[in-house]
């Protein structure tokens, strides 16, 4: 009866919401191009050169191949971490003793950069996809574990009491109270963690493999100082990162998840 449906915002408003950042980016690109053409000594390739670089990659069939390779590693590393860390985190968060036992361990592992694992990853898995996937896994595991633990601990007691009151089995309780109560927090945590995964894949590809966007950047420099391709790789990483985040965000708008982002 209260609250206006957010979907009913007029299209003209949402159009200007989209247009404004796009127009601003275009302006910056033009300024970038002007600046580069005025200083031919070139500390940075211009946007036009970068665009041509991307076209070149597309032409050689490398663009799709590298993007797919990077996404493949991110997907596996993230998915493995999610499958292990989320159930474990939910369990540890539910049992206070589990939290007490595991928390110090988690806090020791958490500040270690996933990149510090590179030597061990190569030792264990050799140079290849597995090493990169392992690094992403390590980078995602602890943030997801902590998200899941705190999500359980933050469930309002009243939801748990209502669940108990209606006489449910443990399985019913998990699927109908615990799970829906933690989903919004898990989505937010996953969004942030996906960002980490995307950061780690680039670094991992610079060392452990010979494909992907991270590899593109190192390779373009080593194979002839092709800085246009270096920046092209950076731009692609940024755009795909943005798309991943938009994808995760769209989950936050699902009606049965949206409650925790609004009031109450």
């Amino acid at each position: 009866m209260t609250a206006i449906e957010p979907e009913k915002r007029s299209t003209s408003v949402s159009l200007s919401v989209w247009l404004r950042p796009v127009a601003f980016i275009l302006l910056l690109l033009i300024l970038w191009q002007i600046a580069v053409s005025r200083h031919p000594e070139q500390l940075l390739p211009g946007p036009w050169a970068v665009l041509k670089g991307i076209g070149e990659l597309l032409h050689h069939g490398l663009l799709l191949k590298y993007v797919v390779a990077s996404l493949f590693r991110v997907t596996w590393g993230f998915a493995l971490a999610a499958v292990l860390a989320i159930p474990l985190g939910l369990t540890l968060g539910w049992y206070r003793r589990g939290d007490m036992a595991f928390n110090p361990l988690v806090q020791i592992f958490r500040p270690i950069s996933p990149l510090a694992w590179i030597p061990l990853a190569i030792l264990w898995f050799g140079v290849g996809d597995l090493a990169a996937i392992f690094l992403i896994f390590v980078g995602c595991f602890f943030p997801l574990l902590l998200t899941a633990m705190s999500a359980v601990q933050n469930i309002p007691a009243v939801y748990i009491n209502v669940g108990r009151n209606f006489g449910m089995s443990t399985a019913q309780f998990v699927s109908r109270v615990l799970y829906p109560a933690v989903v919004p927090q898990l989505i937010t945590g996953s969004r942030i963690t996906m960002g980490i995964a995307w950061l780690v894949v680039v670094a991992a590809e610079m060392i452990a493999v010979n494909s992907g966007l991270g590899f593109l950047i190192v390779d373009a420099r080593n194979a002839g100082n092709r800085y246009d391709l270096v920046v092209a790789g950076m731009v692609l990483i940024g755009i795909i990162g943005l798309l991943l985040d938009l994808g995760m965000r769209s989950l936050e708008r699902v009606k049965s998840f949206r409650w925790s982002y609004s009031e109450d």
Binding site: M1, V158, Y159, N165, F166, G167, Q172, R176, R258, S260
Partner: protein, 261 residues
């Protein structure tokens, strides 16, 4: 005659019976008594209001009856059976946030009905949507409902599982005074048509006198039962009748409030 008073019937006089119930919480190794020697007999279909100073342990007492906590001493029985934990036959309605925000109105009312067939469940949901005047909001999420509607929804979800006792923990405490008055009327209407036993915690004296068959007055912590006041006015109650005002004043003085501000 004497043998009759000695012999107890299999179901002692009441539906819900509290005998010498005591409760203490542990805090830093020290034990804080909250409730002491609570004795109460509630008969089937009775409407009881629990009043008392804030923080006296009214909610604790309700949680004990609901099986969410176990008393440190004494016994609580329903139909002669000791209370051993939460039970869908007795539903507790909370003051706030009691409805699940991830379920629609329909989903919330149907929450406790998963053992029923689909047709039966839909029929039950429709019945309580109607009774609680939530028509047109079946597919609405609680975030888009008003405070009063959320509380009606919570009562609907509780009634849908057909409980014999309803525990209400200041259910209208967070509502504005007009909505609160309307909600009291609705609750009485339901109580009269469905005749459940109701235990209603409130800090509002008017609310207690308007609703209850008997008002149980608790003392401050550690709470004991100070008095039990029978409200002998038939429903619908005229809230400006002399008897109403007299009982209200009596209750006020029992709680220890002055007549003037």
């Amino acid at each position: 005659m004497a043998t009759e008073t000695l012999k107890r019937p299999p179901f002692p006089s009441g539906k819900l019976r509290l005998e010498h119930v005591g409760m203490a919480f542990d805090n830093d190794g020290k034990s804080f008594p909250v409730l002491e020697d609570i004795n109460l007999d509630v008969s089937d279909g009775e409407f009881i209001c629990l009043v008392g100073p804030s923080g006296c342990g009214k909610s604790t007492l309700l949680n004990l009856m609901g099986g969410f906590l176990a008393p440190t001493s004494g016994s609580i029985t329903i139909d002669g059976q000791p209370v051993q934990g939460p039970d869908p036959r007795r539903i507790l309605v909370f003051q706030e946030r009691g409805v699940f925000p991830w379920l629609t109105v329909e989903g919330n009312i149907g929450f406790g009905l998963s053992s029923l067939s689909r047709a039966e469940r839909d029929q039950r949901i429709a019945h309580y949507v109607q009774m609680m005047r939530l028509q047109g909001f079946e597919h609405t999420y609680p975030a888009d409902l008003s405070g009063g509607m959320k509380q009606r929804l919570q009562v609907a979800r509780a009634l849908a599982v057909n409980p014999d006792i309803l525990y209400l923990d200041e259910p209208f405490g967070a509502l504005d005074s007009v909505t609160r008055l309307i909600m009291r009327g609705e609750l009485l209407r339901i109580w009269e048509s469905e005749r459940r036993t109701i235990i209603f915690v409130t800090h509002d004296i008017d609310e207690a006198v308007q609703l209850a068959d008997r008002v149980v007055v608790l003392s401050s912590r550690p709470a004991k039962i100070e008095d039990v006041l029978t409200i002998d006015i038939a429903h619908p109650r005229n809230i400006s009748s002399p008897r109403y005002l007299q009982l209200r004043d009596e209750l006020m003085s029992k709680i220890g409030l002055a007549y003037t501000l």
